[in-house]
Symmetry: D2
Subunit: 343 residues, 4 copies
């Protein structure tokens, strides 16, 4: 059986990856591509690397959508609340790659984003979309808010260690290095080649709005409240997130304890792999995998965990398709690449 799907926000980087993955997916058929200012243009003018260049981009307005089996929304922050509500009212399955429905309460949303949520009564309807941790809830949900790259890389690394009480819930430090596509495709001086190439920087230091989401995700998965210091960095590469995480151990903890806890948590998970050496982002570029590795810094006893994903796959479009697979009862791996593509 083939499921029809629409992709709103198809002109961005994550949208383009959704088109690529959905086109190749054995069980999905893309019937609508939505865009804002690019509506009316050929797909080929926006994503020249994709086949089907003569498809025309349509509207992002949910009223213009046919009755599809599932809608992907890859829209800017704040832009998915209204269409998400409208599509849910129509009874359509929705996977939102945006941040509007990720926080579980109006208070947390307001704390994270500094504004009130326009549909606070809807927040409880949405399931947080990390299949490895919340797969059962996703399978029975028709509205899923798939997290982005920073929270995914950090939550997958930390949740099992907090659950198993191997690390203290406070004093956790997450330093993440992100490729540039994580910042989107919009036209900003900070994203010019001349501003990015041959340089690194930390940004939103102490203020990044995805920190509360990281804390909430770990809490939901583990049942324990945690506090996290989160510092994102921009690195001159297209894709990839590497999170380097330090935490204080709870009691006597060895590297084996850590890696065994991670392995046990993700046993049977096709996309999360605990490896024996520190992961590099080139090992996951183009893949939906998340690579984890943990150790102990001997002199100080500090726990160090490393987590690598492709921000556009496991950190965006790949995870959204994975959620859709779970929602539709398909194989979790359907249409999703395991192999990366970098030498």
């Amino acid at each position: 059986m083939t499921y029809t799907t629409a992709i709103l926000g198809a002109s961005g980087y994550a949208g383009g990856e959704l088109v690529r993955l959905a086109d190749d997916h054995p069980d999905l058929e893309v019937v609508h591509l939505g865009a804002y200012t690019k509506a009316g243009e050929r797909l080929g003018s926006v994503h020249p690397h994709l086949p089907g260049a003569d498809r025309t981009l349509g509207s992002n307005d949910p009223a213009d959508l046919p009755d599809v089996d599932l809608v992907f929304m890859a829209l800017p922050h704040g832009a998915s609340a209204a269409p998400g509500a409208a599509l849910a009212d129509r009874g359509l399955r929705v996977v939102d790659l945006g941040s509007d429905y990720r926080m579980d309460t109006a208070a947390r949303y307001a704390a994270a984003y500094g504004t009130d949520h326009p549909h606070p009564e809807r927040l409880a309807d949405w399931t947080y979309g990390i299949p490895e941790l919340f797969g059962e809830a996703i399978a029975t949900s028709s509205t899923v808010a798939a997290p982005g790259c920073y929270p995914t890389s950090a939550i997958l690394a930390l949740a099992p260690l907090v659950t198993d009480r191997l690390i203290a819930p406070d004093g956790i430090v997450v330093n993440s290095l992100s490729g540039v596509t994580g910042a989107g495709r919009s036209l900003k001086p900070d994203l010019l080649y001349g501003a990015v190439d041959e340089s690194v920087k930390a940004y939103a230091v102490g203020t990044h709005r995805h920190r509360p989401e990281i804390e909430q995700g770990i809490e939901h998965a583990s049942g324990a409240s945690v506090s996290v210091v989160f510092t994102p960095h921009l690195v001159p590469m297209q894709r990839g997130i590497l999170s380097t995480i330090t935490a204080r151990p709870s009691g006597t903890v060895t590297p084996d304890h850590l890696n065994q806890a991670l392995r046990a948590a993700y046993k049977g998970a096709p996309f999360v792999e605990v490896i024996d050496v520190p992961p590099q982002t080139r090992w996951v570029a183009g893949s939906n995998r998340c690579l984890l590795w943990a150790t102990i810094d001997e002199p100080t006893g500090t726990v160090i965990v490393l987590s690598a994903i492709d921000n556009l796959l496991k950190g965006a479009a790949g995870q959204a398709v994975q959620c859709a697979n779970v929602m539709l009862g398909l194989a979790e791996t359907a249409g999703l690449p395991i192999a990366g593509w970098l030498p």
Copy 2:
């Protein structure tokens, strides 16, 4: 007055920068360039970007050196102990960019490097070469061990905060991102373009041998023992170090306290600047400056300090020339660039 100088290890990246800086220096005259396997070759075949291409590389053997006023050694780890001792015996001033004479005791050297120092009785003769912190000792020393990029970026950021008791001496986490020239010019699979481009990785996690040097440097500057977790990362760019440092505050600390302490410590220092925004490495590429910025992560109260340098200048050749200036009684800034060159 012009001082004659020799540069051992002139064929590497740091050696090339020394040649460039010393050639342009108003008070230095380069009279000998040493190399190992490249001895006998033209400078132009090794550093085609430098003028004076027809100069011939000579030997790295100190016995082949004329009596110069000052010798720079940019040799691999373990290779400077013997020539350093020999040159000191001849009464020549020496600035060692290598790591052989940086630790202050044989025990610390053995702990850091896992081998015994070949000339442990000499260690006390060498001065640790960060002019902003140890300038008086450098001015009266004839043998200076200039630290490399990771320790310089971390010690400059942390020493004043530890001295002023603004941060706790334990629980300090240093995450550093390094450009590729920091790894040197030798032929290793990990340094191929195909292995570095479009990827980031952490390496030597929990085991990097410069961690003890960071701790020692802070201790010498502040008088307090500290423990540091240090995780270096390789980033796809030529130059630059960004260190992102977290620490627990000592008592009630505000961002102003932190930045004022840094400003006070480096008042009058021509190369260290405390700025109002998080620094980017492109702001210091080509410059001998170190840019610092500190803040408090409000939700957790954690201190965050950022430190950016060019690993080949303030983290290697620039710092070595700065030490030489201090040793020779020249202006500290002589021959050293303040302006960066990016984009």
Copy 3:
């Protein structure tokens, strides 16, 4: 039906791409991975981005090969002549990605490579493997020499224009820009990140050994002798070839003539597309497509043709799989990506 296959030279960049493509291919089963010095290692230690990390690399010796349906050889220049002959003698189908069997006569081989071919009597047995131009011969051949990136990009662009007598056969200038993986994975100073990043260079100017192959390929496809000036360049990127070609027109030629000739020649070819704007290599990174575009420089009347491919796909592993598909009677597109993956 599934065809068993072996991949010799699996540890290089092209070999890794072959493993990736063959693993995903619906009709191929990889039963042997060969290597030289890496024999005995896990695939995961050589290609950490690929699934099946626990597969062990075996020998490159044809004597160690089981009787598979088809062997891919991705070996260095000079290394495929002997195993190619041995495997052909065993009656196995072989696709050689190397250069040993691409020239059609011993004289041409000697002229191109400066040495005598070790098995000159075999040269006539091998078919030159560009399916769009020599598909019928490939379909009935059991030994195919698939060309590499430079010849493929140039021959696909030029052959139809020479065949249709739209350009003069002499005075053709081919300037090609290549990503670094085109130079292979071996450990050379010129391939270090520090030597490649932020720089471009021409190399093998006037002497590149693939120039005769370009001329031969066009001659075989068109029946006309041509002479070509070929200048390859190394560009700081992983993948991609862009060939910028100039030629004198034969008679009165318009841009439409050129593009129509190209479109007619590749009508029905699934991987060659003539587009309306100058192609960029990012549009084909990860894809087996070749993008072509031609125009006339008005003031001088010069023909300009641009050709873009991914050097590891249409310029290496993708083309080899495409040849295998044709040899085995499979769909030409089986297992081959059309969509690219950049950004």
Copy 4:
């Protein structure tokens, strides 16, 4: 004696380089920095890599300029005609890095740019600013139009060969590879990191407006009319131009003839060097040098010339300062770097 100078368009990439060079220049004093939308901002907010961050950007309006000894204009195409005329009327020396006064006649300007020149009667007052070819005219001129990166790299390579009748004046093909700063600092989708990184493209194929300037420059230097096919390419790097040029020889020409003609032409020129191997752009990044090398493609007899410069130095700000040095009677090399800085 110190000459006062103003820099209009100080906020762009070339403007920033002018500030850097002029600040370090022993004989220049910068007294005014002009900008359009950035007027009123601190220099440090626009060029954080430069010292003197607290200098305020002023206006680009010539009426706001004090009476300085020399004005540099680094303004967009079309924007320097009016201020150039106004400043000339005030009797100030002007070096224009823009294209408004480079063509020698109104007809040529209209042919190159498709619009009429606003001050055609002024064109004859301006001297074309390549000191190696037009130094005497520059020395006696008060208004100099310094050419940009593409014409400089091509004209320096070709003019001596045309002058000496070593190459035919038609059939010249110039393929140039440019770093991204050559396209300026404005906010365009094509200049985003995601659009530039890991890709190459040709652009303005057959239509680039600097082609007529290349032809005019060669004609002025050699006295012979030439026609050139010019194809610029964008390459993922910050700086550098490599021009790969092919031409038909005039009579019997050897590589020695070519290189000797180039050496003779640039004997005594401090910034142009004819070397023995193909130049790489990393050898000139940060330097005002132009590296040249010529050879003959043996099979076809074609002349190949390679030319490498830093587009922001010899192709923009460096050349402008060189012109200023000549106009002011200073040493031609004053304040200009010979050494490059890569890696």
